[in-house]
Symmetry: C2
Subunit: 935 residues, 2 copies
């Protein structure tokens, strides 16, 4: 069963141009129909061919009564036409005297509608004038307003330059063969002349087809005059049949006329019928997002209502073999390495793509903003033991190592909130108890690293399996909300940092000032200036004083003034003009420009490639635009400032922390306990982010490595502790942004086919570049200092909002505000009553609200652990919701089928204990999954 080639169909109709007859291309099909707009001299948009039932039945009759030549040896059109006519005469269907006339008609020139480059058609506009309007239409070779034509006489095997030049070729698969449909009315026939020909070999028949694709099928319909429209419809019907996957199979394999007719009947059985009163046949139907594959269609039993919905349950929640419990020491880690190793080379060369540049720029900016923010906060929390410098170095080190060796290099490591709080508490504890912070921290890091190794060795990541969509989406939305609220908080903060003077009256500008006064003067000033008399006295005194010291004070800046004990007097002292508002404009502008540019991909303007480029670089372009605007305005907005010197933030600490000497010995042991908390924290944070990144929706092909990831996070824990750098763990939102910026879509092949999401550019290059760039940011400071912070907050807001989209939880929240008749056709809404959906969502919202409140207290430290609480709540929901509802809204917990699976496995093991074969099986399962994705 060799797969049959794809078929390209061209339909030409016989037309009279002046005195000459010619075949003019009127439509073509790769998968969908494209019609030549008569007046517009252009191709229509690809659309679904809407046929009339009548034409299908007429076609059936045509095949029944006409000539069917299967596997004809044909090498040129004249010979083929001769053979057809001969057969018809033999069978007594036409009289021999028609031979020449039919021959003449069938060998007329073919004129194709070829796409012309736009610059040419623009240049044509002036000169062509009205000479080639529809009314005064004369055909001349090479006319500037006509498409190219070719004479039928040059039957060359080699395709003509016109054919080769046709750009449409790239839309046709390489193995394609052509099927040519020729229909027309002539005056010499009194009954239709019909022929269906299949050639033994696909042959290029000169200029018959617009593209250099060899012809395999030929359908000819010539008929008496007056029924041109009907012939046209029959031609469209056979053309549509020829591009149908199942019928083309039939056409290739048919042994006789009856097979073809059976094929048509099969097609008719499957056909979808629209009632004439509910649909306007003039509407061209846009190609659907997805069409059923030929395999699925052939499974249908048409009699049993193939039109009813799929009643099957949603695909089972399955995290793949990555999380299987091996039961062997380091079994998971071993499998992870074994799984990832073969991809190592491709992990590098697949990174070289234009899209990577935009991804690197985007994620880099996110990372350094994060590094600066967390660095600043850590510096405050630890009295500069760890500051911005350490944050940069640590990010660069940890990120590079993880992206080089980690199991899932798409994950971006970063400082996270819980770690920050832990460090804060730890520092306070050591300070209060006279323990050396850095040494204690080192020991916690070492313990934690060892604990991670134990978790790795025992395949403990296995428990992530119990995390369903409920937990996963809850966690990621919470993180997104935190991102959004942080971005907005920072923005609002700038209104507090740069207060606006709302009392300012432009005309009274003279009364607004801020002066630096000596503290003594300040008091006298205020105490005595109240009455005129006193003020007169004061003034002379004031002047006298000024005479001595004024020159010093008035030249001082605000900070200096306060430093030297002066007082700021005046009604504009506590206000800063413009900066808050400009910050807001930059923040909001960056955000909304990014959103609009992202959406620009779906607009109608500009060619697809340009739009894709704009969409890919949307964040970069918005940042550039608003950095430009900021430079243009020239205001002193807060800028991104990175450290420029390579030295620890706190003077007096070195780059290496020594493990012994500063703390008593029991601290080394006791640090096991806080290390346990850190380990749980890191384990949960890391693995949940990993699960979100490894989501099935992302269609990752290279597999992941939970155990390997955790191993490296442990190693980095220890390394960072020795170097006195912050600890790092997977950052959900930035990792999602990383994935989003690396998504691939198919270049749609057939015109009208929707581009399919193919997966993510899985490689290590972007990650490594991001972190190397972060490391050398110290040298990039002169460039980075132009970037205003509000622009970066805008990027953060965008990241938070973007990572919310595509989350089912978020879709369900939106349902609350929609009347049920306007709700989108989600599959779970078809199967679960709305009130159950709402109840599920409400529970989820309440959980998140509780977590949000806890997060704002000191409990934030155990925040990732609370995810375990979410998993418990999910377990309890088994009592409230039926398994059916949960299967649609969430995933089922694995226990339910554990037994069955275990049994299956036992059987499997008995039969075949060979590991390799088992692996192959699981791989096959994996690729199966990809196909059966629930959308």
């Amino acid at each position: 069963d060799v797969p049959t080639p794809t078929i390209f169909t061209e339909m030409d109709t016989l037309q009279r141009e002046g005195d000459e007859l010619e075949w003019k291309e009127s439509a073509r099909w790769v998968k969908f129909e494209e019609k030549v707009e008569e007046g517009g001299e252009r191709w229509s948009k690809p659309h679904v061919s809407t046929l009339s039932l009548h034409s299908l039945f007429e076609l059936r009759t045509c095949i029944q009564t006409g000539t069917v030549l299967l596997d004809l040896e044909g090498y040129s059109l004249p010979q083929i036409v001769d053979d057809i006519i001969e057969r018809q005469i033999e069978e007594g269907m036409i009289s021999p005297d028609l031979r020449d006339k039919i021959n003449f008609v069938l060998l007329r020139k073919h004129r194709h509608q070829t796409k012309k480059p736009i610059h040419r058609s623009l240049a044509d506009m002036g000169k062509s004038g009205s000479s080639c309007s529809e009314y005064s239409f004369t055909f001349y070779q090479g006319s500037s307003c006509h498409a190219q034509s070719r004479s039928m006489n040059d039957i060359a095997d080699a395709p003509s330059p016109d054919q080769l030049r046709n750009k449409f070729m790239k839309k046709i698969p390489r193995d394609a063969e052509a099927s040519n449909v020729l229909v027309g009315e002539v005056d010499f026939l009194n009954k239709p002349f019909v022929a269906f020909v299949r050639l033994a070999q696909a042959t290029t028949l000169g200029g018959l087809t617009e593209v250099p694709v060899p012809t395999r099928f030929l359908f000819i319909l010539l008929g008496p005059q007056g029924k041109a429209k009907s012939y046209n419809e029959i031609g469209r019907a056979i053309a549509t049949l020829m591009v149908d996957d199942l019928f083309s199979d039939v056409a290739y394999k048919a042994r006789d006329r009856e097979d073809l007719i059976a094929g048509i009947d099969e097609f008719l059985d499957e056909v979808i019928v629209l009632p004439p009163g509910e649909w306007d046949p003039k509407i061209r139907i846009e190609p659907p997002k997805k069409v059923p594959s030929a395999e699925k269609r052939s499974q249908f039993i048409p009699n049993c209502g193939g039109l009813s919905e799929d009643e099957e349950m949603p695909v089972q929640h399955e995290l793949g073999e990555e999380l299987a419990f091996t039961g062997r020491f380091c079994g998971g880690l071993y499998l992870d390495i074994k799984r990832k190793l073969p991809w190592l080379l491709s992990d590098f060369y697949e990174g070289f793509h234009i899209q990577s540049i935009s991804a690197v720029l985007f994620i880099y900016l996110g990372c350094i903003t994060n590094a600066i923010t967390f660095g600043g906060l850590l510096g405050d929390a630890t009295d500069n033991y760890q500051g911005v410098m350490e944050s940069f170095l640590g990010t660069a080190l940890a990120g590079t190592v993880f992206c080089l060796f980690g199991g899932q290099p798409l994950i971006i490591l970063s400082s996270t909130g819980p770690i920050l709080i832990f460090e804060k508490l730890l520092f306070e504890f050591s300070k209060n108890n006279g323990i050396d912070y850095m040494e204690l921290r080192l020991w916690i890091g070492i313990h934690s690293c060892l604990q991670c190794f134990i978790l790795v060795a025992s395949d403990a990541s296995y428990i992530i399996k119990y995390m369903t969509r409920f937990t996963e989406e809850g966690f990621s939305s919470l993180i997104s909300f935190i991102f959004i609220s942080d971005a907005i908080k920072k923005m609002v903060g700038s209104f507090k940092y740069y207060p606006i003077n709302t009392d300012f009256k432009p005309d009274y500008v003279t009364t607004f000032k801020c002066e630096c006064l000596d503290i003594f003067l300040f008091f006298t000033h205020f105490l005595h200036m109240s009455t005129i008399v006193q003020s007169m006295w004061m003034f002379s005194f004031y002047c006298a004083t000024l005479n001595v010291t004024a020159l010093d004070w008035s030249q001082l800046s605000k900070k200096e003034c306060l430093k030297y004990g002066g007082s700021l007097v005046g009604n504009s002292c506590k206000y800063v003009p413009d900066l808050a508002l400009v910050s807001f404009i930059l923040f909001f502008g960056t955000y909304s420009m990014t959103v609009s540019l992202k959406k620009f991909k779906f607009s109608r303007y500009f060619p697809t490639k340009l739009r894709k480029l704009i969409s890919d670089f949307s964040i970069f372009m918005s940042i550039m635009t608003f950095v430009g605007l900021d430079m243009l305005l020239g205001l002193k907005t807060p800028k991104l400032i990175v450290p420029t010197e390579f030295k620890p933030t706190r003077p007096g600490r070195g780059w290496l922390v020594m493990p012994f000497g500063k703390n008593p010995w029991w601290v080394y042991v006791a640090s096991f306990v806080p290390a346990l908390l850190v380990t749980i924290l890191i384990f949960m944070d890391q693995q949940i982010s990993a699960v979100i990144v490894n989501r099935k929706e992302n269609k990752l092909k290279k597999g992941c490595g939970y155990h390997l990831d955790l191993f490296w996070v442990g190693v980095l824990m220890a390394a960072c502790s020795f170097l006195g750098l912050p600890w790092y763990v997977a950052a959900t939102v930035i990792s999602i942004a990383h994935i989003d910026s690396l998504k691939m879509e198919s270049e749609s092949s057939a015109p009208g086919e929707q581009p399919q999401f193919l997966g993510v550019r899985e490689q290590r290059v972007t990650g490594i570049l991001v972190f190397v760039l972060t490391g050398v940011s110290i040298f990039l400071a002169p460039v980075l200092k132009f970037i205003p912070m509000p622009v970066l907050y805008g990027v953060f807001l965008y990241m938070g909002v973007a990572s919310l989209s595509g989350i089912q939880f978020w879709d369900r929240i939106k349902l609350f505000m929609m009347p049920s008749k306007h709700q989108p056709d989600f599959s779970f809404l078809r199967h679960v009553p709305l009130r159950r959906v709402h109840l599920f969502t409400l529970i989820q919202i309440m959980c998140l609200a509780v977590l949000w409140v806890l997060k704002s207290t000191f409990l934030a430290i155990i925040f990732p652990v609370m995810i375990l609480g979410l998993m418990v709540i999910r377990k309890m929901m088994d009592w409230v919701f039926s398994q059916h509802d949960l299967a649609w809204l969430d995933d089922l917990l694995p226990e339910k089928e554990k037994k069955k699976k275990d049994e299956d496995k036992k059987k499997g093991k008995e039969k075949d204990k060979d590991k390799d074969k088992e692996k192959k099986k699981s791989k096959a399962e994996y690729s199966d999954e990809e196909v059966d994705l629930p959308v």
Copy 2:
């Protein structure tokens, strides 16, 4: 030929609930199909019924072989069922022992899917728990999670409360009759039991139907087990057929089985077929915007390819009888009055609608902003002879009179640019030549008024007929561009008016000040302060001076300082903080919020009515929001200031201008010449705006009155001249905004049907209210003073942009940026080659560019006259473009058919000289036009 009632179809399927059998509603049709989502316990969205060809053929067989009872006398379901079974037994189709079983099954309870109020289902969520999930489903009466059910035994004529309570009733036309489809599988039959019943009278059969609609048709299909899906499909097929306009006609009129079968065959002939490989049958097709009417469908000859496009030419450009040349003295005016008089009463009572409130607020704000802007400019231009006060009064007077008596009360009168320029030139001329401006102006007004009367009396508005889409759209886009550019110019102006201090450093706030110094001090200050020594000397001097005069100077405001000869010294004097940026935020915010709220109508959130309300009040809500924001910030943004006292702006001029006494006698005569210019200017401006307002697309029903409009404009010219108020003429953009805010849409009747644009709320109330409000704005000043000007500029920007949308010219400009495959399916693109379209657009753009340039020179005064130039260019385009292309892109000029029409008219006159009949004929033509609108 009485029209047959609309049919509502309900399909019930036989289901086993626990031990009991019952009929459960599974789908319903008003025009489109709504399905009960099994799991979701909800109605699906209305969609086009996609049928399988197989089911249609099976249905045909069913009707052929089953029982067909036409005009059965039926009063209750048991009796009808009895009759059917009796007939089947008579015909030997079933054995008599099945009678009881079939009877039992057919009289089971019917359970309907009724829509529950949302608050109830929310309340249910908690208590219902998992008890009514799909797995543990037991039926109990009045269950909170089930729809209501009714026993079949209470066969009441009066509808039950459940039926009456059903809100779905309002979606069903009043005259509707029901058709009930019952399908199911039973275990006691071995071949299908089929019956098609038409009752002699429509009868309410108890709880058979979910709504209290009497049943006329009944289709029953019971069959052996195992083919439920197939029965379902057959049920859907007959249900779809029953709601088909043509088939339902057949069903009502059928005399026998053959008629029904012929009806099915007819349906099959018209059916639209989608190939299975190009369409997924699972996709529910949204109802189209428009379906072909039954009349059009019956005209189709299916054999000749009913699927091909309409090849006819677009509907002819026709401005209606309003612009016909009567050839009689005041003939047009007489017809105008005659046409408008019958609507006078409805012009008032039709104005009372919630939509009017939003329209009045929107247009009112537009009008007063315009009045203030033009008032200010006029004041500058005429040395306050006409100022803001006159502008307000004049707008109120002219607007009110025009809306009360004008031919097209939707037109809003306003000052326009050309008039402003004319007044400016006139004032300069009079000043330079020692002529009294107000008296000269009065005479020009009188002459112009008389000239208008001559134009009215001679039906001169007739020439507007030669204005095609080219001219009309050119003019209106130009005006829109001017609006947009003015709004942006004003916005940019505020950055000049409130310059931002880009050198400001927050820390050096102490060095920024602005002081008012005595002019003498200022100089010494600058000349001598350069060296320290001198400064020491200066300082004592300075202090001494200050001692005497400082208290005066430092307390002065900027204006006062300059007034009293002081100098402003300091680096913050020429800057104003925040105001420019806040203005920008207010401007842009108002604009974008209005745009988003307008779009909100098409979102999925909230019920349709609320969304419509939000969309209608979008401008008002945006203004309120940003006025609120402005108040919250409390900054001194520029506010709307209306005069509060009723007196002429220029002291010394009275409210009445006397015609004689100040100028020599020849001025009275010579003013005829400038009056001529004013008249042409007013005529063009007024009538083009009127044509744009009266566009066919607006579906105005009450006709218009070009002559009547011009008459009143003339009268107002004279009146305003006597009162010394500005002259008024129709304002295009505000008039379009007025129309847009009064658009009506049908409350869609059948579920899924698109609401149709019905027309505009044509009345005089909104216009009158707007202008009365403008008149009393003097008293509204305390409220209006809170509105910042930038908000109003934002509204102007929105008005300009909104009036561009829906203009074909604008659509064609956008085509330049779209690759041809992404271009929308405009009908002109199907018929005219793209390069011709582009050429046409380019010519139009060039014309507008030339006009734009001219507008910026003193030639602006003859700006409306230049529209005549556009008409000439349009005439010349007849040589460049074929009539075919022009018919699609523009309209044909009337000459082409003038001859034919004239001949027609002559014939008509010969036959029938009665005026009234002629009028009736033209009215019929008019209403015909409405139907044949090209969309």
